[in-house]
């Protein structure tokens, strides 16, 4: 170790250039080359219980906050190819990127640079680092819009499926009601009761009347559900607008150096130190001369009894 430190100080100008100046230049140059912008947006997610029977929270974990659930769904959404297809199309349509190759490089950056995190129980932070401010704004706007569209589509799809299911159920219930009413009418016709006379207890007629009541209740229940589903389908768009509110619209922070720029500068600067260290290692490894009194004592097994400075320098060590 002494040998390498000694080499470092002996050739300090050389190593100052290699280990300090060169990495500083490389890091500074990378700061200038890899400049970028950081865009951010904040979105408020409301609790689905505010919307009564209409659920905007399909697939939510009941043990997580609305923000955490939305972050989870957003994170999964931005991992899909469909999202990137939509984002790419939007970037091209808005002329935010000049061509397909730039679009592809932006999409590749977004894959690693788009950060979604929850801040408290309802607030979501979205941030992204891009080469230009307009790209950041477009990416964030598109992400929020795609998520909203996805929510609406999901709600509508679920409502459609539920509607189809309950339509079948309603038909069955209505058939059963018709049958029950017909059976009751037939029985009543077969067993007429004189007017102004109290009807004696008749278990068979009571059972038929009960069947009619139950079938009617089933029909009513299913009709209520279908009304709710219809409401959901019609109101899904508006509900999702309310459930997912943009508090801080996408904007770009001032400053030219993003965290990625700084990381890159550090990496490049750090990488530029390597040749200097390698050179130091080679120099130290090649140097087999006696320099360290302690090493001498260890290797020779005798004490270094005196260290004498250079007579020419006229200075004691």
């Amino acid at each position: 170790m002494f040998k390498y430190v000694e080499m470092l100080f002996q050739h300090w100008i050389r190593f100052a250039l290699l280990i300090v100046v060169l990495p500083a230049i490389a890091g500074g140059a990378s700061l200038l080359v890899f400049q970028g912008k950081t865009g951010s947006a904040q979105v408020w997610v409301d609790n689905p219980s505010y919307f009564g029977t209409v659920s905007t929270a399909s697939g939510w974990n009941q043990y997580l906050t609305p923000a955490q659930n939305t972050v989870d769904s957003l994170t999964q959404l931005v991992a899909t190819q469909s999202y990137y297809d939509k984002l790419g199309a939007r970037l091209l349509a808005d002329h935010t990127v000049a061509n397909a190759s730039e679009r592809d490089s932006v999409l590749a950056e977004v894959q690693t640079q788009l950060k979604i995190s929850s801040n408290g129980s309802h607030l979501i932070n979205l941030s992204v680092e891009c080469p230009r401010a307009s790209i950041c704004i477009d990416v964030l706007t598109t992400t929020i819009a795609v998520h909203r569209d996805w929510l609406i589509e999901t709600e509508k799809n679920q409502a459609t499926v539920a509607s189809q299911f309950y339509t079948g159920q309603l038909q069955l219930a209505q058939q059963r009601l018709t049958q029950a009413v017909d059976a009751l009418n037939s029985y009543t016709a077969a067993h007429p009761t004189p007017q102004l006379q109290v009807r004696p207890p008749d278990p068979a007629q009571d059972r038929l009347q009960s069947d009619v009541n139950v079938s009617q209740a089933q029909v009513n229940t299913i009709q209520d559900k279908m009304q709710n589903i219809q409401f959901s389908m019609e109101a899904a768009g508006e509900i999702d607008q309310t459930a997912l509110r943009v508090i801080d619209p996408p904007r770009v922070k001032s400053g030219r150096f993003t965290s990625t720029t700084k990381k890159l500068a550090l990496m490049i600067g750090g990488g530029a130190v390597v040749p200097g260290l390698l050179y130091l290692f080679v120099l130290g490894w090649l140097d087999r001369t006696a320099r360290n009194p302690r090493e001498l004592e260890t290797r020779l097994g005798v004490r270094v009894v005196s260290t004498i400075g250079n007579l020419l320098s006229e200075k004691a060590p």
Partner: protein, 249 residues
């Protein structure tokens, strides 16, 4: 070889160096040969002092007869000779005892003649060949410090080192010089270095910061033997790492 051991001129040279003849009345005193003063900074001498004080020559409590310290290194050019001179200067100044610095590195590029500004002349090699008397030169400005330059080793320094070990010169210098510092040849690539190292009781191994290879030091340690090496002196130690950081590492 035995004739070298029996030659009496060693004692004569030592006596004449340590006890110069008193001047006759009316004549100028016979000047001893002196070196040019070597001006090492005080901090350098102090660091050399730290090195020689760390050399344990005898067991704790046992009386110390002489210090015979060899200074060696793995290869040439690590500042071994400068440190040997610094250690000799520090010992001579501290102890006031007669101290001699012997140059046994016959292949050194920077010899005592250059370092001390000595005239080209005979030295240890010529004495070993039996051609000249032993030349002891006072190391100015200290009165009790002397140097024994190598002279010209010619083409066969290994033979001279072998003769040196056979001559028992160091044991014969011991009675007169309490401190003997030997500038030894480097251990690697010099065939006779292991032989020369036998002249010293303990050896300090010099390594130059940022120059000496660890593998060379390990090889030198292997050749010297760990038990004979008193320690390592790190020369030209100028770490660029701040002291507070060095303490943490």
């Amino acid at each position: 070889m035995s004739e070298l051991a029996q030659r009496q001129d060693v004692e004569e040279a030592v006596n004449s160096a340590l006890n110069p003849a008193p001047p006759n009345l009316g004549f100028a005193p016979l000047a001893r040969e002196r070196t040019r003063p070597v001006n090492f900074p005080p901090w350098f001498i102090d660091r050399c002092r730290q090195a020689y004080l760390a050399v344990q020559l005898a067991e704790h409590g046992a009386p110390r007869e002489n210090r015979v310290i060899g200074i060696s290194s793995a290869v040439h050019g690590e500042g071994k000779t400068s440190i040997a001179v610094g250690i000799a200067t520090a010992i001579a100044a501290d102890t006031s005892e007669p101290t001699i610095l012997v140059e046994c590195d016959f292949a050194s590029r920077v010899g005592f003649q250059d370092l001390f500004g000595l005239n080209r002349g005979p030295g240890l090699c010529e004495w070993l060949d039996g051609m000249e008397r032993l030349r002891l030169v006072q190391a100015a400005p200290l009165e009790n410090a002397f140097v024994l330059p190598a002279g010209d080793p010619g083409i066969d320094p290994a033979r001279l080192v072998f003769r040196l070990t056979e001559s028992h010169l160091i044991p014969r210098l011991k009675p007169s010089f309490k401190n003997i510092i030997i500038d030894l040849p480097p251990m690697i690539n010099i065939a006779y270095s292991s032989l020369a190292c036998r002249l010293a009781d303990r050896i300090l191994l010099v390594a130059r910061y940022g120059v000496t290879m660890m593998e060379d030091l390990e090889k030198a340690m292997f050749l010297l033997g760990q038990e004979r090496v008193a320690g390592v002196v790190m020369n030209s130690y100028q770490p660029r790492t701040p002291a507070w950081l060095r303490r943490l590492l």
